[in-house]
């Protein structure tokens, strides 16, 4: 079984770039490596040689490196087809609620991505699978998605609608006896609940498959090495802290926190030589204050959590070429062994 490396963190901190760099590094160290990414920047996607929705493809230039881009919406259809009878699967994907459910129930996209990842982890074709978590999931939700998905298709709503039993199509519900349903009808119009229930009954036929997969995905999460990427800004830092607090409940605790866009520590108290122009001196003072702020943020984080703290320097251009991706891991300081 492959070693799974999950790269996570708030939006906009450089997760995808870090995931891509790790994959390039693992491949260069002799590991058959697959990087699964969700919606990367176009130039990064082309550097990785991946196309949307495709099967894993071999990188044209880097030996042992494979890439695949996960399309959450499309993989939902795969999930339906994999776990339901063909006729039911047809009804499901053509249902008016299906598309909306995939869009409005973000856990379903994360679930679909995780199920795809689990398949690759188990396939024995790769030594390392690097997973870049979907931005829409917004962090910890990626890890709770399997449980919530099983709950959804397991018919929590359907059980509530029908009073605990899963009925046949003809005996859907006895509305007169249930004031709750009468009230819901007032709110939503008479036949909406019925249509939702029919959809859910079809969806429920995927339950056995989904429940089994959820367990398998959760087992993978517990064995995976999770890296939390952040910057020193308050919002991503708060998100990173959430991972350290909440992840142990659903997966293995993070193996490291990576502070991306780190400025040189030497800028904080740098001496400004005499005869430096006022503009350049001011510039160093501004960036020095920023460097100090970053140092304080890292120290604050280290005081709260014990995992290794790693830094990646601030690069003017986010690397989108292979050479740049390779160099990031060389520049990273404090990264633990992952494979």
């Amino acid at each position: 079984m492959a070693k799974a490396v999950i790269v996570t963190g708030a939006g906009g901190v450089g997760k995808t770039t870090v995931a891509a760099s790790l994959a390039v590094r693992a491949a260069s160290e002799g590991k058959e490596t697959l990087v699964l990414t969700v919606d990367p920047a176009r130039r990064l996607a082309s550097a990785l040689g991946v196309k949307l929705g495709g099967r894993p493809v071999r990188h044209p230039e880097v030996p042992r490196l494979w890439g695949a881009m996960i399309d959450g919406a499309a993989s939902w259809i795969t999930v339906a087809r994999r776990h339901a009878d063909p006729a039911v699967a047809d009804r499901l994907v053509n249902n008016e609620f299906f598309e909306a459910a995939t869009v409005h129930f973000p856990a379903s996209q994360s679930y679909a991505a995780a199920e795809e990842a689990a398949t690759y982890i188990d396939s024995l074709r790769w030594d390392v699978v690097v997973i870049d978590t979907p931005p829409a999931a917004g962090g910890i939700e990626f890890f709770t998605a399997p449980a919530r998905m099983a709950d959804l298709v397991g018919g929590r709503l359907l059980r509530l609608l029908t009073g605990g039993r899963i009925p046949g199509r003809n005996a859907l519900f006895n509305r007169g006896a249930r004031p709750l349903l009468r009230f819901a009808d007032q709110l939503l119009g008479a036949d909406l609940l019925e249509r939702v229930a029919l959809f859910l009954m079809d969806l429920r036929s995927t339950y056995d498959g989904v429940a089994k997969q959820s367990k398998r995905i959760e087992a993978h999460f517990r064995r995976a090495a999770t890296l939390v990427v952040t910057t020193a800004d308050p919002a991503p830092l708060a998100e990173a802290a959430r991972f350290f607090e909440e992840l142990p409940e659903v997966a293995a605790p993070p193996v490291a926190v990576i502070f991306n866009r780190t400025l040189p520590a030497s800028w904080a108290q740098a001496e400004v030589p005499a005869r430096t122009s006022a503009e350049l001196a001011d510039n160093l003072h501004r960036w020095g204050a920023e460097s100090q702020r970053q140092r304080d943020a890292r120290a604050g984080f280290a005081a709260r959590f014990t995992a290794p703290l790693c830094t990646i320097p601030w690069l003017a251009e986010s690397p989108t070429e292979l050479a740049g991706l390779r160099s990031i891991i060389d520049l990273a300081d404090g990264l633990p062994r992952l494979w």
């Binding site: 708030a10 939006g11 906009g12 901190v13 920047a41 130039r43 008016e96 609620f97 909306a100 459910a101 869009v103 409005h104 129930f105 973000p106 931005p135 829409a136 917004g138 929590r156 709503l157 509530l160 609608l161 709750l180 819901a184 009808d185 007032q186 709110l187 939503l188 119009g189 008479a190 909406l192 609940l193 939702v196 959809f199 910057t231 308050p234 919002a235 991503p236 708060a238 400025l263 040189p264 800028w267 740098a270 030589p273 430096t276 503009e279 350049l280 001196a281 510039n283 160093l284 501004r286 960036w287 020095g288 204050a289 100090q292 702020r293 304080d296 943020a297 601030w314 003017a316 986010s318």
Partner: protein
């Protein structure tokens, strides 16, 4: 007439900071302001300098109030507060029933969430309502929700609500969406995609792009290999890269990179001085 200003943008661009700063700026100009956290990340609270926000509006200072709509609790709150369904909070199974329903019936949760915001506009208790919305990836779904509901739900109170919401949201005089972006590749692309979708669908009265964390030009050349030169080199290359993205997607307004400012409320206070008019 109450103005509604929704603030969105890709994750990590500083939406909550700019939403809070905009509320502060309007408040300073003498308006009665309500700030609403729809993103449910807690970011707005921090930028307004309070620990947390609740569904019931709290006074930050005279004339500036704030509340949070918890998306997972919005439906229950809605049923209790707006429909007046009694005792729902204590009725565990009923609450779970509606929660499960909202997860499945598309658009319902969004209509209820956004409904709270638009309801505050309709009440005319404030001059300006500023809503810190979910990231652009989700905000289009949020704005589309009234239509989704109208197309799936034939009748009922939710549909009626969806109809008056659409009317307010589509009015150019009342409603505006500010999309916050950065002069970088991914935020620029995501903003362009959001804008073209919004232009086509006309879901919101008017839109405006603002770019955050913009660097100023450095005129002097640095010599040598010390920290002065390093800092100048990084600044210059970041500046040039930003210029390309600014040219591609010219914003209505630019906000500067704030160096070394740490707490959220300091950031919001500094930005609030820069909104102008």
């Amino acid at each position: 007439m109450t103005r509604l200003i929704l603030v969105s943008g890709k994750g990590g661009v500083g939406k909550s900071a700019l939403a809070a700063s905009l509320a502060l700026a309007h408040h300073r100009a003498g308006a009665r302001v309500l700030a609403i956290d729809v993103a449910a990340t807690g970011g707005l609270a921090a930028h307004l300098g309070v620990a947390s926000l609740a569904f019931k509006a709290q006074t930050i200072k005279t004339g500036l109030n704030a509340l949070a709509v918890d998306r997972s609790k919005a439906l229950i709150e809605y049923l209790q507060v707006q429909v007046g369904m009694p005792g729902l909070g204590t009725l565990g199974p009923a609450a779970r029933f509606f929660d499960a329903l909202a997860s499945t019936a598309p658009g319902v949760r969004e209509v209820v969430t956004l409904g709270k915001v638009v309801w505050e506009v309709k009440k005319k208790q404030y001059d300006v309502v500023v809503a810190d919305c979910p990231p652009t990836g989700q905000v289009t779904g949020l704005l589309r929700a009234p239509e989704t509901v109208s197309s799936l739900v034939p009748a009922g109170r939710i549909r009626q609500q969806a109809e008056w919401m659409s009317e307010i949201l589509r009015s150019p005089k009342r409603s505006e969406l500010i999309v916050v972006t950065l002069a970088e590749e991914l935020p620029t692309i995501e903003t362009e995609e959001t804008m073209s979708m919004l232009d086509e669908s006309k879901l919101i009265g008017s839109t405006m792009i603002v770019t955050n964390r913009v660097l100023g030009r450095l005129r002097t050349e640095a010599k040598g290999v010390d920290e002065v030169a390093e800092a100048a080199a990084l600044h210059r290359s970041l500046f040039h890269s930003q210029q390309e993205w600014l040219e591609r997607l010219p914003p209505r307004k630019k906000f500067p990179y704030l160096f070394g400012v740490f707490t959220e409320s300091e950031i919001a206070a500094r930005l609030s001085d820069l909104w102008g008019e």
